[in-house]
């Protein structure tokens, strides 16, 4: 018992940003039994993610065509680039023509558009949204700020390179990229998917430890489960 208490104490000292209700603690049940609770563990997804290999070649080719022609984008405007997303869906540019649609929930979307710079606080939410999306999933990064920090290269609160935290499929340069550029990015992404090269989700699984280490270096307040698929 003392061992465990010690462990808990160490945990608490290390995670000074962890909210009190999120720390590991023990609860006494109605019949006197002691239950250990780790609020940051998601009990449905408490195993490491697995890579999902493509099926046989011909079937996969057909499925990839369907995936490419129906891109459901997570409606999460992370930065200033999101000002160009509504025009994208409006009469002038009309991305619906190309099978692009916005979805409100990460579970149903296959593309996440990182629209511009990511503040550390947003990065945490983006990672969580990304992990909740289902394999196969793709990332489009808009703007110079996701490539090298862009205008905010020396800011203390924005990340510099997105590919250290998430596997990026398509980068769009510019500040801010015009809707035409975003349409071109969708086109590029479609080509990648049809060629079977957009395996970002599997890449994320393979280099999982590296990604997690990078993410935890930046996000000091790691107030979420390690896996949440």
């Amino acid at each position: 018992m003392t061992e465990e208490l010690k462990d808990n104490n160490i945990e608490q000292v290390e995670d000074k940003f962890l909210a009190p209700e999120n720390r590991k603690h023990t609860v006494t049940g109605p019949e006197g039994e002691i239950i250990h609770v780790d609020p940051l563990q998601d009990y449905y997804c408490n195993e490491r993610p697995k890579a999902e290999d493509p099926r046989n070649k011909i079937v996969e080719k057909f499925l990839n065509w369907a995936r490419a022609e129906s891109l459901w984008v997570l409606g999460f405007g992370t930065g200033c680039g999101s000002i160009e997303i509504p025009p994208l869906l409006s009469p002038r540019f009309d991305a619906y023509r190309f099978g692009v649609a916005m979805r409100a929930t990460p579970r149903q979307s296959s593309v996440i558009i990182i629209s511009g710079y990511l503040a550390v606080k947003t990065l945490k939410r983006v990672i969580r949204s990304y992990e909740q999306m289902q394999n196969p999933k793709f990332v489009i990064a808009l703007g110079s700020c996701t490539i090298n920090g862009g205008m905010y290269w020396d800011s203390y609160n924005t990340i510099n390179r997105l590919d250290y935290y998430l596997p990026v499929d398509v980068y769009v340069a510019g500040c801010m990229p015009r809707p035409e550029a975003i349409l071109a990015a969708f086109d590029k992404l479609k080509t990648r998917i049809k060629e079977g090269r957009a395996e970002g989700a599997n890449e994320y699984v393979e280099k999982f430890d590296w990604y997690k280490a990078n993410q935890k270096k930046v996000i000091k307040n790691w107030n979420m489960p390690d896996y949440n698929w």
Partner: protein, 302 residues
């Protein structure tokens, strides 16, 4: 041997209905896009979305009810289809229609919703719970005018069999319930707006008010099943209205044209109205449409 042939035709009918549902969704999306000055999606986009959803590699389930939710929903849609006579006068296309099918269908319309409630509840997302409680509350209010209309028709035609109701409307366009019983048609068409999930009664699935509502947690194959059901449900509910109020169909072409216009009515209204809140829509539904429905019954009792 006969029953095998029957099952074969039922499955074929289901296939036609599914395809027409998906196509109709594409056409409607195209019309909506044209009104908002866009070109809109490809007409076959719903098919691609469906294939994509079935091809998602990883899925996760939150438990047995979560898994069964879409199955219940689908059986609700297929159940209506099974007992719905599609084509009047045709032996093979009237499915398993029997004398009391109207009551069974009215039950099946609610059945999918209940299954969905169980599944969405187990999903664990607070917005699905909020969405489904809104949905059930509102759907009860939506069903009420429809039930009154059905009662009114049953009294009018002295029958609870859809086939007989359709038979009574044959002959001339003036024999349709639309003209013989306009009050019941009015109440039922208002209820149809709610059943189709378009504005002003779509606060259940509203993206702005609560992100997508009950299916928030559903993805991949689960979502594919829900979409399949949606395509079937839209057609069979339109077919129900067609049978009850618009004289039924003598062939598939007539069915397609009529269901298209019936469904278009809900899209048309949904295009130009924002949505009600639940606490506004329920009182609204309980006032005017219910009064019309009651009036429709009184007219035939007296």
């Amino acid at each position: 041997m006969d029953i095998v042939k029957k099952i074969g035709f039922v499955l074929l009918g289901l296939f036609i209905v599914l395809n027409w549902g998906l196509l109709m969704a594409g056409i409607m999306r195209k019309i909506i896009a044209r009104v908002s000055m866009r070109r809109g999606i490809k007409i076959f986009q719903p098919y691609i979305n469906l294939i994509k959803n079935y091809s998602i590699r990883s899925q996760l389930t939150h438990g047995i009810m979560f898994y069964l939710g879409p199955v219940f929903r689908l059986s609700g849609g297929v159940g209506i289809f099974l007992f719905m006579p599609m084509i009047y006068g045709s032996d093979i296309w009237n499915n398993f229609s029997f004398t009391g099918d109207l009551i069974l269908i009215a039950y099946f319309m609610f059945f999918g919703m209940l299954g969905m409630a169980l599944g969405a509840g187990e999903g664990g997302h607070p917005y699905s719970a909020i969405g489904i409680s809104r949905g059930l509350a509102q759907f009860t209010a939506i069903e009420l005018p429809l039930t009154l209309a059905i009662l009114s028709i049953a009294i009018q035609y002295q029958s609870l069999s859809i086939t007989e109701i359709v038979a009574a409307q044959q002959g001339s366009i003036l024999n349709w319930t639309l003209f013989t019983n306009p009050l019941a048609t009015g109440a039922a068409m208002i209820s149809f707006l709610g059943a189709m999930g378009h504005s002003p009664f779509n606060v259940v699935m509203a993206p702005q008010e609560n992100p997508v509502g009950p299916p928030t947690e559903y993805h991949g194959t689960f979502l594919g099943v829900l979409q399949t059901n949606r395509a079937i449900l839209h057609v069979v509910e339109a077919v129900l209205y067609m049978n009850l109020f618009f004289g039924g169909a003598n062939n598939w072409i007539e069915l397609i044209v009529k269901t298209f216009f019936i469904y278009f009515w809900s899209v048309f209204v949904g295009m130009v109205f924002p949505r009600f809140r639940v606490d506004q829509s329920i009182p609204w539904l309980l006032k005017l449409p219910v009064l019309i429905g009651v009036a429709a019954i009184i007219v035939f009792i007296v």
